[in-house]
């Protein structure tokens, strides 16, 4: 595999391969020497056109743990503000002999565009409202660790499905792994046409959170994207919490051993209450640790294709 652009086009076999190696990378993170020489001599550029702290630091740490040389290229410091075109930026970066480009951009499809114009391997770190594949993979890895399986689990995704690239990547990834998915949210953020767009028949839609959470194994809360709430999808943040926020009472409707996830950063008191976020069923901090392991596993899986030699042991 050359690029990781989304989970929509990722095969089930490749997803399983990445998930199965992530455990070994997580073990590396627990050792005294938290580093392996696997990608020594390879260079990666983290190209972030949209502000991001956790995804960027998670990628950067994963890259360093793999012994890569890391360049960070973020918008305010770059030539982009001086009017350089995206293609010129890529060409400039490419002349540094780069092996991997990790890209986050506010517009959907930019990673796919870059992949067509570079020899480097491209990893999508979030593009507009499209996909955020490493988040979905780390979520799947976290569920697998906590539950031992994904197939047959009832997984509820709650909140602003419409604007969420995390939701989209998770829906494609988890349904390929055999989960039963429930989408929960206000009709304005979960229009009926959206369900059709995914083309997944088993997808269930709920407009009342109480109904949707009943008997769920996993609850994935989405961040309410305040920066995108420009057209008034709901009356107020207080109102949103009253109808859609995850409270201890609502959590009790799910299975007793259900886990709660959130991609961060959290809006406490808007989509999730503090008691639930910090409670015993929360897997939120585990997701952060797993993010580093899964990004190492992705970098490992995207070995730049060379002439290729066969299996040689010895």
């Amino acid at each position: 595999m050359k690029h990781l652009l989304g989970t929509k086009d990722l095969s089930k076999e490749m997803i399983k391969k990445i998930l199965s190696s992530a455990g070994a990378f997580k073990d590396v993170l627990r050792r005294d020497i938290k580093k392996v020489p696997t990608l020594r001599g390879k260079t990666v550029v983290n190209l972030f056109f949209e502000p991001s702290t956790r995804t960027r630091t998670s990628f950067e740490l994963a890259e360093k743990r793999m012994s890569m040389d890391v360049l960070n290229f973020s918008v305010p410091a770059s030539a982009v503000v001086k009017g350089e075109s995206l293609l010129d930026t890529i060409r400039t970066i490419e002349s540094y002999e780069i092996d991997y480009i990790v890209i986050r951009h506010q517009s959907s499809g930019v990673p796919h565009f870059i992949a067509k114009h570079t020899k480097a391997s491209v990893i999508n770190a979030g593009d507009g409202m499209n996909e955020h594949p490493t988040q979905a993979l780390l979520d799947a890895f976290t569920i697998l660790e906590k539950k031992g399986r994904i197939e047959g689990l009832d997984i509820a995704i709650v909140g602003d499905i419409l604007h969420s690239r995390v939701a989209r990547s998770n829906i494609y990834c988890l349904s390929k792994l055999g989960a039963r998915l429930r989408l929960i949210g206000p009709p304005t953020l979960l229009p009926p046409a959206l369900k059709e767009a995914f083309g997944i028949s088993e997808l269930k839609v709920f407009y009342r959170i109480e109904e949707g959470l009943e008997g769920a194994d996993v609850i994935m809360m989405l961040r309410l994207q305040k920066e995108r709430q420009i057209r008034g999808f709901f009356p107020s943040e207080g109102e949103y919490f009253r109808f859609w926020g995850l409270t201890p009472e609502r959590l009790r409707l799910a299975k007793p051993d259900a886990i709660v996830m959130h991609p961060g950063p959290m809006n406490r008191g808007i989509e999730i209450s503090t008691e639930v976020a910090d409670g015993p069923q929360s897997a939120i901090l585990e997701q952060v640790t797993n993010g580093i392991a899964i990004r190492m596993a992705v970098l490992y899986a995207l070995q730049t294709e060379a002439q290729g030699v066969g299996e040689s042991s010895g």
Binding site: R31, P37, Q303
Partner: protein, 175 residues
Amino acid sequence: MKVILGAEEIERILSRIAHEIAEKGRRAEDLCLIGIQRGGVYLARRLQRLLEGILKVPVPVGSLDISFYRDDLSIRKEAPQVRKTDISFDITGKRVILIDDVLFTGRSIRAALDALMDMGRPAEIELAVLIDRGHRELPICAQYVGRNVPTSRDERVEVRLVEESGKDEVVIIKE
């Protein structure tokens, strides 16, 4: 395909290697075994049982995956499948016997040595292999060898063990 070792011969060889390992060590308490995934892991567990019988002390055993330390990652088409590294004891100060099924170019052993160095500082590391088929590309040699088997480069040596293949045998396959 030619069978070069059968089940009984493999058993005799492992018993001989276990005695050689036991004879050489000064402190049985410092001994530990680490098998390289996958064939080496099964052999390490068998040697553990034999050595515990001889030495009458527990002998810790671990498994090592060398994928992250390979030198051929950038020339392979696909990244090799990662298996479990499971070493639940501290190797610092220990006498480590590294175990593999076939010794060939020596590159796997180089990778295994680097991996072990990242986990601690053993007092010494020795190498035990069931088959040494020659064609070394690095200055590496095994202290304990089950059988020296002259091969040509286009042949493949396969160690098949009960744990995976249902029976014990070593075969040479002409490509």
